[in-house]
């Protein structure tokens, strides 16, 4: 499932916001179905970098006080087993 989620995420990213408008609902539907299977996908784009957030693997371009996640190569994936979430994939991100 992890690989399928990554592929869906990559397709969505490739389409971008402009081209992606007419398939937005299809992606929502895909993510809904994935969540029904107990997965939680988090896209940390735009978040401020936090060294305590171990769900992301950051690649820094520069260091300043306003470090933000500017690109997400892979999203965070959690999987729910017996009502509790477990991290199954760290996000791979670029911070600048």
């Amino acid at each position: 499932m992890k690989n399928i989620i990554n592929q869906i995420f990559e397709i969505e990213t490739k389409l971008g916001t402009e081209n992606g408008q007419n398939v937005k609902r299809n992606f929502e539907r895909l993510y809904y179905e994935i969540e029904q299977e107990g997965y939680r996908i988090v896209n940390p784009i735009g978040q401020r970098y936090d060294e305590r957030d171990v769900s992301v693997e950051a690649n820094f371009l520069s260091e300043n006080h306003q470090n933000k996640i500017s690109k997400v190569i892979k999203p965070v994936i959690y999987h729910q087993i017996d009502g509790e979430y477990t991290l199954v994939q760290k996000a791979v991100v670029i911070v600048e």
Partner: protein, 825 residues
């Protein structure tokens, strides 16, 4: 006597821990991030001490605050100055790594461990490693050379028996270093004869080589760029810097891919340009050839030094992630003309070997007693107060820790899902930490307090904070909010959208399918009916709070059965209900807001519901009369009269668009339906469950007599979650399940050829006028009788099929799924 059991690989680049248990080794995962290996890196940032993956992130941007490869300084008097104005040695940092690894183990606190050291370590370096182990809280530390650990891992995993002296080469090519060792292996012992290595040769270099020599030249052509590599690494333009980071990541992925496939593709999106670059394994091999050559040269040097010929080498065993590359394996095999053993995971081989060794080493007596004592160290600190909100709607929640008596030490908080870790943070008497929460779930945290020597003195596990599940400030829903949907029996039931006591505001998206074809221009319609009440009761007995119709007359195209429909629900704090629907295939979007003052009720729907119950009530009256239950019969008759009255009033108000009589009728209808429900529902559910159980039993017995794997699978699927649907109180769901069982029972029945005989006679005994061609039918009946006599069931089945085709009106399959009345399933 107990054994040490725990094995630790304290590596230059990465470390890990395992345990020998029941003849096997379990390699532990980091509870933070869930990886088996921990980068041997410590970093200081914003007053925190970070260890492992997070620490490594700052290597490039804050090199002064990141400490790595300290193993190379083990045993020296080299002093590291930290940003917290402390002076640290390699032993201190190794202690931190070891403590972190011991955390992987969980509840059980290891008191002893085997720690691996490079073959090159002298006595001072070895003793320094022991000291780090003791400082990390281990009472007993046994050391083991890394190549020996690797040999043990391979030998034990394969249960290889060694009866004569053999020489193995341990080829260890990791992320940052290369080591090769010559090991003598016999039935008595394992001994490192000699070793060679390069501390600055590893897999990381390969990724950068790929970017520079495989990707850059092609990208320059495709993107019309020049000097791309220089632009990416000179740090002047952030777009190029970003591209470098991305390419390095993709190169690493491609490298892994090429270990499995002959070809891989790297996709690059840069400044609006898109490129796809093909990389062949052949190109990759050529690229890394000089690096591999260097390792082979060192290995040959090792053999020459010790006067060993290739033929004397029994096998080469592989350690380190870089050895996954097939080219390395084939190059080694051809250069040394011997067997290259790659049967175990090279990244954890040292941990596995150390654990096997630990599994055979007995604990000394004092440690053994210590291990048996329950650990008391976490109970040292009394009166620690942790103050926090149990429920939160915010992305972060404040936790305050108060420790009396002027306590100074450190704290660390981690989240159980592995996504949050504060690192080790110094504090005095009190600390405040904003804990990041995973939205809409219960977040469990582990809080640890350490003394100045970083020994645990307090631990609180499973500290729970609910995010967005309960909100104490919001208003709870007094009843379930449900959507009415079709079942497969031609009736409807309620499906819960929001549960009673959920806190407003609420929103949810659900997906359903269209349960009947709605042809454009007809007077058919799709109905979306939302009610408030109890999901386990009949739809019509609940309060309608939202009603939406899609009329066929308004459709531009036909709406086909099976089409997906997206329905969005929202309930505001003031209880306004918003329903939005979207049907992608016909591009139809509609949204409506409902509130108590603008309630919509459909006369037609109400009439159908009343007529439906009127039909059922007659059958119920008959049944209760038969059982001489006069009291209930009287009450049912009263309900019957009220329903007839309501139907009459409905006709009267058909053209009334001014008064609110319709709401009065709706209210009375619900009341009367609730009464009816109360009288008959319990009895009906009970008899439905009885029928379900009877069919279940029948199928079970039949499957025992005549096993059929296909039907068995379907049967298991039908009865899955049985307790849930049998206790749902929803008649319609139980009925649907019984229907599925009936279908299976029928399929089982017709498995038996004999079953076709009574079926044939059913057809044969029908009136001839029900068939088209009488003479043909007579001929078929004669043939059928002859087939029965000859026990020719193939022929009999063909005859039955022929008779069926001759029927003027085909019999209906009473187990077939019925079209919906609402149009939504």
């Amino acid at each position: 006597m107990a054994n040490i059991d725990f094995g630790i690989d304290l590596g230059t680049t990465n470390s890990g821990i395992g345990k020998f248990q029941n003849g096997k080794v379990n390699v532990y995962k980091n509870p933070v991030g869930f990886r088996e290996t921990l980068p041997s890196v410590v970093a200081y940032r914003n007053g925190r001490i970070l260890i492992g993956d997070k620490a490594r992130e700052f290597t490039k941007i804050q090199p002064g605050q990141v400490f790595s490869s300290f193993k190379r300084k083990m045993g020296s008097d080299y002093i590291y100055n930290t940003p917290l104005n402390e002076q640290k040695t390699a032993i201190d940092f190794s202690t931190l790594i070891l403590k972190e690894l011991l955390n992987f183990v969980g509840e059980e606190k290891p008191k002893a461990a085997v720690i691996t050291i490079p073959a090159s370590f002298d006595t001072i370096q070895s003793n320094a490693t022991k000291t780090a182990g003791h400082n990390a809280g281990l009472s007993e530390v046994a050391l083991l050379q890394e190549p020996i650990a690797a040999c043990l891992a391979y030998a034990n995993t394969q249960s290889a028996e060694v009866t004569e002296d053999k020489k193995w080469l341990v080829y260890d090519f990791g992320g940052g270093t290369f080591d090769v060792a010559l090991v003598n292996i016999s039935d008595r012992d394992l001994r490192v004869i000699d070793h060679e290595g390069n501390n600055f040769l590893g897999g990381v270099d390969i990724d950068q080589l790929m970017v520079e020599h495989l990707l850059c030249p092609q990208l320059e052509q495709l993107f019309n760029e020049s000097g791309l590599w220089k632009k990416m690494v000179n740090g002047e333009n952030s777009d190029y810097n970003k591209l470098f980071v991305e390419l390095a990541y993709k190169a690493e992925e491609a490298k892994k891919e090429l270990s499995i496939n002959e070809t891989t593709y790297v996709e690059v999106d840069f400044n609006g340009n898109f490129a796809e670059i093909e990389i062949k394994r052949e190109q990759f091999n050529k690229l890394i050839q000089p690096k591999v050559e260097e390792t082979i040269k060192l290995t040959k040097l090792l053999l020459e030094k010790n006067n060993i010929q290739n033929v004397q080498i029994d096998r080469i065993i592989l350690v380190g992630g870089t050895t996954y590359i097939p080219y390395i394996r084939t190059s080694l095999a051809s250069s040394f003309n011997c067997y290259v053993d790659s049967t175990i995971d090279p990244t954890t081989a040292i941990i596995v070997g150390a654990s096997y060794f630990a599994g055979t080493r007995m604990l000394n007596e004092t440690t053994a007693i210590d291990v048996q004592q329950p650990t008391t160290q976490t109970e040292h600190l009394k009166d620690v107060k942790l103050v926090y909100e149990i429920n939160s709607q915010d992305p972060e929640e404040l936790l305050t820790g108060l420790v009396p008596n002027e306590f100074s030490g450190y704290y660390r908080i981690t989240r159980s899902d592995g996504g949050f870790d504060t690192g080790i943070m110094p504090f005095h008497s009190r600390f405040n930490e904003f804990l990041r929460l995973l939205p809409k779930s219960i977040n469990y945290f582990n809080v640890k307090i350490f003394d100045k020597q970083q020994q645990v003195v307090f631990e609180k596990d499973r500290l729970a904070i609910n995010h967005g599940i309960y909100n104490i400030s919001g208003q709870p829903l007094p009843n379930d909010i449900c959507i009415e949907v079709d079942d497969t029996l031609g009736t409807t039931f309620l499906e819960r959208v929001f549960k009673k006591n959920e806190i407003l505001p609420l929103s949810k998206k659900i997906y359903k399918t269209i349960s009947k074809t709605i042809l454009k221009g007809t007077d058919d319609k799709l109905i979306i009916n939302i009610v408030e009440g109890n999901a386990a009761t009949s739809p019509a007995s609940n309060l309608g709070i939202g009603y939406l119709e899609i009329n066929a007359a308004d459709l531009a195209v036909n709406l086909l059965k099976g089409t997906d429909i997206e329905i969005n629900f929202g309930i505001s704090e003031s209880r306004d209900l918003t329903i939005g629907i979207f049907i992608d295939s016909i591009n139809l979007e509609k949204q409506e807001v409902f509130n108590a003052s603008s309630r919509k009720v459909s006369i037609e729907k109400m009439r159908k519901e009343l007529e439906n119950v009127l039909g059922n009530i007659d059958a119920e009256i008959e049944e209760f009369s038969y059982n001489e239950n006069d009291q209930i019969v009287d009450r049912l008759n009263a309900i019957r009269i009220e329903i007839i009255e309501l139907l009459r009033e409905l006709i009267e108000i058909e053209d009334d668009v001014v008064t609110d009589k319709i709401f009065n009728i709706d209210e009375r209808k619900r009341k009367v339906f609730q009464q009816f429900d109360q009288l008959v529902r319990g009895k009906n559910i009970l008899s439905e469950i009885e029928e379900y159980q009877a069919y279940k039993q029948e199928i079970k017995e039949e499957l025992l007599l005549r096993p059929n794997p296909k039907i068995d699978r379907t049967f298991s699927n039908v009865i899955k979650n049985e307790q849930l649907f049998l206790n749902s109180g929803q008649l319609s769901i139980i009925r649907s399940k019984t229907k599925e069982l009936k279908r299976l029972a029928r399929e089982l029945y017709y498995q038996n050829d004999e079953a076709y005989i009574p079926l044939f006679y059913d057809y044969a005994h029908l009136d001839l006028n029900e068939y088209d061609n009488h003479s043909h039918v007579k001929m078929l009946i004669t043939k059928g009788e002859q087939a029965i006599e000859k026990r020719n069931f193939q022929e009999l089945k063909a005859v039955i099929s022929g008779l069926y085709n001759q029927l003027k009106v085909k019999p209906k399959d009473y187990l077939e799924d019925q079209n919906g009345t609402l149009g939504l399933r």
